[in-house]
Subunit: 139 residues, 2 copies
């Protein structure tokens, strides 16, 4: 369980309980859209406004706490910054699961970008398909 107050302060932001609520909800669910966050967070803190969520998502991205996960055909989701991983995105249920990268892919990405003299800073791998649960249900 992350200590959100510490995390926020370590990244130069004040530890308001709105922010802690937002982080808590995102960590609990893993990947959430703005609307998802709003719906969850107002259960705990009904007066928390959408504007505050928007402002803080931007701020927390700038301060290296949150990361955007853009998804084809859907609204972006947000997750806590963590070590590099891929996303397995189920096109049936909309679920997103993290999957650690092998270092193999990393080596390939570096090799390929070096060929283009491209300075690689961030990788983002989304694999779309059907998760195990939905395969069972759909059958």
């Amino acid at each position: 369980m992350t200590d959100y107050a510490v995390l926020l302060k370590a990244n130069g932001l004040k530890a308001t309980f709105q922010r802690m609520n937002i982080l808590e909800v995102i960590e609990k669910h893993g990947h959430m859209s703005v609307e998802d966050i709003y719906e969850e967070v107002i259960k705990v803190h009904p007066s928390l406004s959408l504007a505050t969520i928007y402002k803080n998502i931007i701020l927390m991205q700038e301060n290296g706490i949150l990361v955007e996960v853009p998804i084809a055909g859907k609204k972006s989701k947000y997750e806590l910054l963590k070590s590099d991983h891929m996303h397995l995105i189920c096109t049936e249920c909309g679920g997103v699961e993290d999957k650690m990268c092998l270092d193999k892919t990393d080596a390939i990405f570096h090799e390929l970008t070096e060929e283009e003299h491209f300075k690689l800073n961030k990788r983002q791998v989304n694999l779309y398909g059907v998760c195990e649960k939905c395969q069972e249900t759909g059958a």
Copy 2:
């Protein structure tokens, strides 16, 4: 040079010149946002409406002609459907370049998704960084 009329009909859509204009502009520039497309396309065809672009982008995605490229921190761009490739996205100039995948990555993706019993349908690799041109300029 693609024959857009053939491409459209082959995919079950009527070959209107609005659609052909849209496809032409996208192919010429490679990757474009809705707004990018609009600005380019009205140069040739000033009465073409934004609503038509929205409607057609959705239709053409459903019919396997266009693909969305969602990008962190920006509006999605759209490209013609083509063989699998990665995107090198320059965070300085916003440019997007295609880079063919080695089959190596593909093998790894399949291996990793199989571990999770995930049925893999589509891959999307975005590599963010600074392109050669912007590195020179910035120096």
